[in-house]
Symmetry: none
């Protein structure tokens, strides 16, 4: 039996509140061997105080050594096995720009390209046309009409866009049309499974009309489509945990991921300060609150060690405002590590902290990678974190007699 089947069987009603504060890319590395990580360098008196009364541990996002993207990273934290549930690239891209996918939708990522007179690809990124220009070209594509299908085309950045086909019997089983080479024409959309046939036909018709519309463009006179994917079918937080869940995030990607798990998007926060205000406002309406803090990841991606330290300290200062709401369970974690040293996501375990009245003390004195190694949660797979949160919230009954 899977953990999700179990939790659905065992969850119990309660009035308790759970806050999950996700500092994106929280885990780090020292800049020199034996040094301190970003989190260990930061002055975090509030998080350290929580470490003393809570239980710490190290979360493995997917499997040891596996570096996750934002999708699998958050799926794990939300309790969905990231090896079982996959969010296709197209669906993730649509989610990331705030497009709310419906059950009849198939999304794909699009790249504008430059075709030569023979229809072969000369530039796979259409000279990386600027976003402003790309928006105009995308708008032209809104003229495409396909019978029985609604077509949405949305710009992303530079030469990239998203296309969503909405209609009956569409499936994501269609191969990329990007040949990953120049000097050859884009591939025809082809189904990879019989169920993708209708989508392949719809995509082919889209490409036909689009190529005609774009024919007079100097650079973006062609396109390729990649990562066809339907909305992933995730059981909702309410169904799975009996939790009314709120997502308080700034960036569309994380709002989208939360929405896929059936969370309600709350407020229009533009800063951590706004997010905590929103948390307070909606406190009585929900049982679970997902707060997403982006900047620990983006500073890490920039290789900005000092910046990441500053962002962690900013997060720390916000803690008393969250604890003043007296959540029954407060979890502080990340979806993966983003060491400034690597300027990228990494596979390293993520420092994690759980605070609740029935926490077993583990002797941890502060919140940091090395301390978490001695923590009472041990080293655990992220997908089990929600079980721990539910248990400490008194929301899980006993398994078996």
């Amino acid at each position: 039996m899977k953990a999700q089947t179990l939790v659905r069987e065992l969850f119990e009603k309660s009035e308790t509140k759970i806050v999950m504060l996700v500092a994106d890319g929280l885990g780090g590395l020292p800049m020199e061997p034996g040094g301190k990580t970003e989190l260990e360098t930061a002055h975090t008196p509030n998080l350290d105080a929580l470490a003393r009364i809570g239980t710490s541990g190290s979360s493995i996002p997917v499997l040891p050594g596996i570096t996750p993207g934002s999708g699998p990273g958050h799926l794990g934290l939300f309790g969905y096995d990231p090896l079982e549930f996959r969010i296709g690239r197209g669906a993730l891209e649509a989610t990331g720009i705030g497009f709310e996918l419906g059950p009849q939708d198939v999304a794909a990522r699009g790249n504008f390209c430059t075709l030569d007179a023979a229809g072969c690809i000369r530039d796979r990124r259409a000279g990386r046309i600027p976003s402003e220009e790309s928006v105009k070209v995308v708008n032209l594509l809104k003229q495409v009409r396909i019978e029985g299908i609604q077509v949405f085309v949305e710009p992303v950045k530079e030469h990239r866009f998203v296309v969503v086909f909405r209609g009956p019997n569409l499936e994501g089983a269609v191969a990329d049309t990007d040949p990953q080479a120049v000097g050859v024409p884009p591939l025809m959309p082809m189904e990879t499974l019989p169920g993708g046939k209708r989508t392949a036909m719809v995509a082919a018709e889209f490409v036909r009309q689009a190529t005609e519309i774009l024919s007079s463009q100097p650079k973006a006179n062609g396109l390729v489509l990649r990562g066809f994917a339907a909305k992933p079918n995730l059981p909702s937080y309410l169904d799975l945990y009996g939790l009314r869940a709120a997502a308080i995030a700034v960036y569309p990607m994380y709002k989208g991921l939360a929405q896929l798990a059936g969370m309600s998007l709350v407020g229009k926060a533009q800063s951590l300060d706004d997010q905590v205000l929103e948390l307070k406002k909606c406190w009585n309406e929900f049982d679970f609150f997902f707060l997403h803090f982006k900047y620990t990841d983006s500073t890490g991606e920039d290789g900005d060690f000092a910046g990441k330290v500053t962002r962690i300290e900013e997060l720390d200062r916000m803690i008393p405002r969250i604890t003043s709401l007296k959540p029954d369970v407060l979890v502080v974690t990340g979806d993966h590590s983003t060491p400034s040293l690597m300027r990228s996501h990494s596979w390293h375990p993520v420092p994690t902290l759980l605070v609740a009245s029935q926490c077993r003390p583990d002797g941890c004195e502060r919140f940091g990678e090395r301390d978490c190694l001695r923590g009472g949660l041990g080293m655990f797979e992220a997908k089990h974190l929600m079980l721990l949160a539910m248990a400490h919230a008194g929301r899980l009954g006993k398994y078996g007699a």
Copy 2:
């Protein structure tokens, strides 16, 4: 491949002896934040000495956050994945009163109830009639005769009893007849899968005759049946591990669980002292010895922190008598935690100790929850403990060349 398939493939003959001492509900919590747990408070010089020469760790009974009942808790310790093997409620209840289930049996839990003149339930527990009265009513039900079926009815406590149907083609796939409400009649037994049809018919006939027999009773004039279940099909210790296994327990529930795993019940011990005497007596006849100590759980359930400490010290004093037998492997663990603070089973990991000549030292100086966090067994799922015991006993061959 599952661990059980692996161990069956790899086990080797040996003369070594393994003792598994299970202190039920061993793990605990401090009564005040940052304080000591029951085990940390107890004076345990013998266990501490073992911690210095053995390897310690923290056992997760099922999954992080999952609180097990006694059934799943023990299945894990015995090496059966508690998410794969489940003991149905009826089977566990029968096991708990010492009824030895056979392969043709289906057991159900029964509750006497009070019916009104129209046959609707007025009191779902028949006024919680005292056990002495219930025994008499249960005896009346022994008159029930069903063709081709043996019927056993056994009292449990107050309004509760167990019924076992024995005969060919019986399966547990029958829904509860308890409508979980008053003012409505009990439900008819209905199969939930086609295989349960014959059992449903047998149960219906039992209910028909029983209701007639009970019609003149003032309170217990009706009954409902719940948790229909056959004996779970567990591979035996001998088959799985090549171990001749003995169970030395005081309470029927734990004897029953051991018996389901194919262990032999040894002696009629009524105390830990008796148990150790029995252990000595049967030492040459078996390879594996399961000793169950109940009182660390029952004091925890009573919220009796000091009592639990005393019981742990009692257990500690018994250790030299066990080690004097020179077991090749001695495991001390629990099936789950029962913190006095919570007065119930909990999900917290269970302090565990393994002592053998090939233990890798881990620097642990005493046996307690915090120390175990730094132990060489790390944090592990209980279902893997038997693999460790077998390995340290020199009873597991190499996997692959």
